[in-house]
């Protein structure tokens, strides 16, 4: 009897088969619904993550911390050398800092003279990284801030230095950031100093691709890449990285953000550029009555 458990269920074989059919139909049905109406199911996914991850963060955080400590322990071997190198770099940085301060003062004076209004400073919400996507083919991280903290879909996330990705999927307490290296990520950027506007699209490698480059002759490895703000979804002028040439001889971008150590991310609050809705008061009331010429007003950007 002890080993006959599998035979005991023989009577239930038809029932079991029906159950298997039902379960399979349910799973495949969910998959098809996801294919047809992805946002709804993705919201379900965000809710599922939201229900789980904040409650297990107390386990995951220490483990992550320990693993990171183990990683940095390996670099202790080269500590003294690294220290010396850092000192040397710091000295160079001091010189740069001095130059930057002088330039900033000069810039402020000039702006004041010209009476230029720059963008108001973007405010941000800082969140810490709870989890990553868990799949080798998806590059995203989960932050511990969500709708509760006013996070919205589409906002940009950066580490201290450069752009990291954008919010895609918000739960009550968590939000997912799709990294620039994800295959689904495409953002409009500008290459400085030539000012060409291109699309930066991830392809699961450390260096995302530059697509739709009009004139490759004007671009050189080392050029700065900043977000362009086209489309009104992203704020303009956030540092993204530097142009580099990949092993496949295509232009790619070496990202400024340190993807090896994403611990805290800033989510930039950004409402998009204000739409100009009317022609203003210059055109008189008689002209306003006339049939509208020209293109219809642009549809609202979906956010």
């Amino acid at each position: 009897m002890a080993y006959g458990a599998d035979n005991g269920t023989d009577h239930f074989r038809p029932v079991r088969r029906i159950l298997l059919g039902l379960v399979l139909a349910g799973l495949v049905g969910l998959f098809l619904i996801w294919r047809i109406d992805s946002p709804r199911v993705e919201r379900l996914r965000a809710a599922a993550l939201d229900a789980v991850i904040p409650h297990v963060a107390w386990v995951m955080r220490p483990v992550t911390g320990l693993a990171q400590m183990a990683g940095s322990f390996q670099s202790y071997a080269a500590l003294s050398e690294e220290n010396r190198e850092l000192r040397r770099e710091l000295q160079q940085m001091q010189a740069w800092k001095e130059a930057a301060l002088q330039l900033e003062q000069k810039n402020a004076r000039l702006l004041d003279l010209n009476n230029v209004k720059l963008d108001p400073k973007l405010t941000f919400v800082t969140g810490s990284v709870l989890a990553d996507s868990g799949s080798p083919f998806r590059q995203s991280v989960l932050l511990n801030v969500g709708a509760r903290d006013g996070i919205r879909d589409g906002w940009a996330a950066m580490d201290g230095l450069g752009l990291v990705g954008r919010i895609s999927g918000v739960g009550a307490q968590t939000a997912r950031v799709v990294l620039l290296t994800d295959p689904a990520s495409s953002i409009p950027v500008t290459i400085q100093p030539s000012g060409q506007k291109v699309i930066l699209s991830g392809d699961n490698t450390a260096l995302p691709r530059i697509a739709f480059l009009e004139n490759p002759d004007l671009v050189r490895p080392g050029d700065r890449v900043v977000s362009s703000g086209d489309g009104g979804i992203f704020p303009a002028g956030i540092l993204v990285g530097q142009v580099a040439r990949g092993t496949d001889q295509r232009f790619r971008v070496r990202l400024a953000a340190d993807y090896g150590r994403l611990e805290f991310l800033r989510v930039l609050r950004y409402g998009g550029p204000e739409a100009i809705s009317d022609t203003g008061g210059l055109v008189g009331p008689t002209a306003a009555l006339a049939p509208v010429q020209g293109p219809p007003p642009a549809p609202e950007v979906d956010r």
């Binding site: 006959g4 035979n7 799973l27 991850i53 993807y259």
Partner: protein
């Protein structure tokens, strides 16, 4: 006696769910954020195959479906498809439990590799037919050898840690022989 068996059933079900949850959460740890690293083993598949070969009677099919669907949701996979394939693979193994009792230990990783290749191919084909963006097939198949390498660890954990052993090979013929 039924109480003991029910007790064992509930406990082992909880053990399966707990192990699976731990495996998924370990994958979710934000450690290897640099894109383009080494493929990581699919420990959940190791767990399913190792458990189904040893004690299919202690692993109900709805539990497999629930755990894999949850993993689909957590790991950003298209929800439901991989879970359905895993359930099919599990039931295929359950159906062949008699033959598997006699199979040598070395055959298990081979079985896992064959099952996983079939699953990855099916997954890829369905996604391709439905025009879902997905990584190249070669990249997806790279997971198989890594998973096979991780299999002995998971199998040893089940066998030594949880005491899940295969039923002895049945001598004789027919269903009645098993009850002897």
């Amino acid at each position: 006696m039924t109480e003991v068996r029910l007790h064992r059933r509930v406990l082992s079900g909880a053990a399966f769910a707990g192990l699976a949850a731990a495996m998924v959460l370990v994958k979710l740890l934000p450690l290897g954020l640099n894109a383009g690293g080494w493929p990581v083993p699919d420990l959940l598949m190791c767990l399913l195959v190792a458990w189904m070969i040893r004690r299919p009677d202690l692993l109900p099919m709805p539990l497999v479906a629930a755990v894999f669907l949850w993993a689909d949701l957590m790991l950003m996979r298209p929800p439901g498809l991989w879970a359905a394939l895993a359930v099919l693979a599990g039931e295929w193994l359950r159906h062949r439990q008699r033959a598997l009792r006699a199979a040598p230990l070395v055959a298990e990783p081979g079985l896992l590799a064959a099952l996983m290749v079939a699953m990855v191919l099916a997954h890829w084909a369905v996604l391709a037919v439905l025009f879902v963006d997905q990584p190249r097939l070669g990249q997806q198949l790279l997971q198989v050898p890594v998973t096979v390498l991780a299999y002995p660890v998971v199998a040893a954990l089940l066998q030594l840690g949880l005491g899940l052993r295969r039923h002895p090979v049945i001598e004789g013929f027919g269903r009645r022989a098993a009850r002897a």
